[in-house]
């Protein structure tokens, strides 16, 4: 009985830890040319699913993704609602019908920040602890 209680507590702690990790461990960043200072979760989803090409202030944006890693996983879970495999399939369906280009993918936070900093309209995400020098951090409404 006691072992079962301990096990259930550990499971609960693990779930809480996982949820906490997903909730606040990423920052949405953009090139300084993007006029908006905040963005809604729906806008993020639209931009990264290629149904939106601009933010509410009219800024044209281009999504940039990380190849994998915890920030990527958290971003997909929190905003996109698709697994990495499903998102790749989705992009391919657009690319092979001519409706969009394959978005740029980068290996890690540092490369993401560097690319977003130099690319007009770029919008991406990094771990909460990553340095964001040269880019704008967007508040998620």
């Amino acid at each position: 009985m006691r072992n079962t209680q301990i096990f259930l507590c550990l499971v609960l702690l693990a779930v809480c830890a996982a949820v906490t990790a997903f909730a606040g461990d990423i920052k949405v960043i953009a090139n300084p040319s993007v006029g908006a200072s905040s963005v809604s979760a729906d806008e993020i989803k639209g931009v990264f699913l290629a149904t939106k090409t601009s933010l509410s202030d009219g800024s044209h944006v281009e999504p940039v993704l990380e190849k994998d890693g915890p920030a990527h996983e958290a971003f997909l879970k929190q905003f996109i609602g698709k697994t990495d495999t499903a998102l790749e399939t989705y992009y391919r369906s657009l690319v092979f019908t001519g409706k969009a280009s394959m978005p740029k993918t980068l290996p890690a936070d540092a490369e993401m920040v560097a690319y977003v900093a130099k690319t007009k309209g770029a919008i991406g995400y990094v771990s909460a602890g990553a340095s964001t020098a040269g880019v704008k951090t967007l508040e998620v409404k």
């Binding site: 729906d42 639209g46 149904t51 939106k52 090409t53 601009s54 044209h60 609602g81 698709k82 697994t83 495999t85 499903a86 790749e88 399939t89 391919r92 369906s93 690319v95 092979f96 019908t97 001519g98 409706k99 969009a100 280009s101 394959m102 309209g121």
Partner: protein, 413 residues
């Protein structure tokens, strides 16, 4: 011809592996993306020959490949084109086709226009049905996505008005209004079927065509227009949709027997309605589609008498798939096609039911392999048109049930 196709296929497969990179390049300061794909299948059935392949003896006649290039001219304007080539049994014959080629201008997120040769948006997968790497299945549910008539139905030469409208708590609506002309695929299943099938009723109690090379039909096409509405509902992972299409097809050629006279088939009415749903929960995907297409056609007999043919076909499928790992996905679908709804559904001459089980292995991000079992009941040979089971490849008739193994390897980049 086949040797040329094999070389092309080998080149498509080999080139990107050798380069180990995408063919992206910059032209006049603009990034141009180039992507390619290819697949090779094998089908083996215990009886009958399906989709014009010699499946009863084992057939490798399931090959396709293509590549595309596209670029953004401005933030709002995109252009691109895709070349496609295929061989499916006695169809295709490796004659290259311009699959799509268009310019796309997006005024706003809720309003865009594309013009040229455009893949027709209908249902869940109409515009992507031929790209095996996007789907769990080696063969898509043939009731809704028949591979043999792909070239006749997958695109239109004309344009689309489209857009995405997000309504905060209501989710996102994606609409497409399309209109144009159906392209003519002289190597496709429609013309092949009309040319090799004679409209003599199957003998009572039997299960056999009477077949003959009685026509030389060379053209299939005509205006098509319609609409599609996708609704990504507020319930995460649930997508609902509906499509509507009207087409006015004309088929022309000559009778070759018993006299050489012109042949012309015209559409009196042809309206297709489709409803669909998809629910994705993590790695689990459920999908279903239903399509109704009543049509009346008119054609002249060799003696000049005009006759009408009526067909009220219904088709649909439900599917379930689950991705266990990055490299393994398992799935199953049940597909149903009823050739003429008002007549007896249980008659194998009026239906095709297909229960399918698939395992998909993703060898890496660019190569997949699928193995699939089909358990097919019926051949729907009584209709105005053939539906996968053609007369000419089955000169001894057809058995009412058939089991088939399909394996397919695909590459994309």
């Amino acid at each position: 011809m086949r040797i040329r196709g094999s070389w092309l296929l080998a080149a498509i497969f080999a080139a990107p592996c050798l380069l180990n990179a995408q063919f992206d390049f910059t032209l006049d300061g603009r990034d141009v993306q180039v992507h390619s794909f290819a697949s090779q299948g094998f089908a083996l059935s215990n009886v009958n020959n399906y989709l014009t392949m010699n499946t009863s003896g084992g057939s490798f006649g399931l090959t396709d490949f293509g590549f595309n290039a596209s670029t953004a001219i401005t933030d709002k304007l995109r252009v691109g084109a895709q070349l496609y080539d295929y061989n499916l049994g006695r169809l295709g014959d490796y004659h290259p086709q311009l699959d799509w080629a268009y310019a796309d201008y997006k005024f706003r997120d809720w309003l865009g226009i594309r013009g040229g040769k455009v893949k027709t948006v209908q249902g869940l997968s109409h515009d992507t049905q031929d790209m095996e790497f996007l789907h769990t299945w080696a063969l898509m549910p043939q009731s809704v996505y028949p591979l043999d008539t792909r070239g006749d139905t997958i695109s239109h030469i004309g344009g689309d008005l489209y857009g995405d409208i997000g309504i905060k708590k209501m989710g996102t609506f994606s609409y497409t209004l399309f209109g144009g002309l159906r392209p003519n695929d002289p190597d496709g299943g429609y013309i092949y079927g009309v040319n090799t099938m004679s409209h003599v009723p199957a003998p009572q109690g039997g299960f056999m065509y009477i077949t003959g090379q009685t026509k030389d039909v060379t053209y299939y096409g005509g205006p098509v227009y319609g609409a599609d509405l996708h609704w990504a509902t507020p319930l995460k992972g649930l997508l609902l949709g509906a499509s509507y299409m009207i087409q006015d097809i004309t088929t022309t050629g000559h009778y070759t027997e018993p006299v050489v006279v012109p042949y012309k088939l015209t559409t009196v009415t042809d309206k297709a309605t489709q409803f669909y749903a998809e629910y994705v929960l993590g790695n689990l995907r459920f999908a279903g589609e239903y399509r109704s297409e009543p049509k009346i056609v008119q054609l002249n007999e060799p003696n000049g008498v005009l006759v009408q043919g009526f067909q009220d076909s219904r088709s649909g499928y439900v599917s379930l798939s689950y991705r266990f790992t990055k490299w393994l996905e398992l799935g199953s679908y049940h597909s149903r096609y009823i050739d003429n709804w008002p007549t007896i559904h249980s008659d194998p001459r009026n239906h095709i039911f297909d229960q399918t089980f698939t395992a998909r292995f993703d060898i890496n991000k660019n190569v997949d392999f699928k193995i699939e079992g089909h358990f097919i009941n019926g051949a729907a040979i009584d209709g105005v048109l053939d539906h996968g089971f053609y007369a000419a490849p089955n000169p001894s008739g057809l058995q009412p049930t058939m089991d088939m193994l399909v394996m397919r390897v695909g590459y994309h980049m």
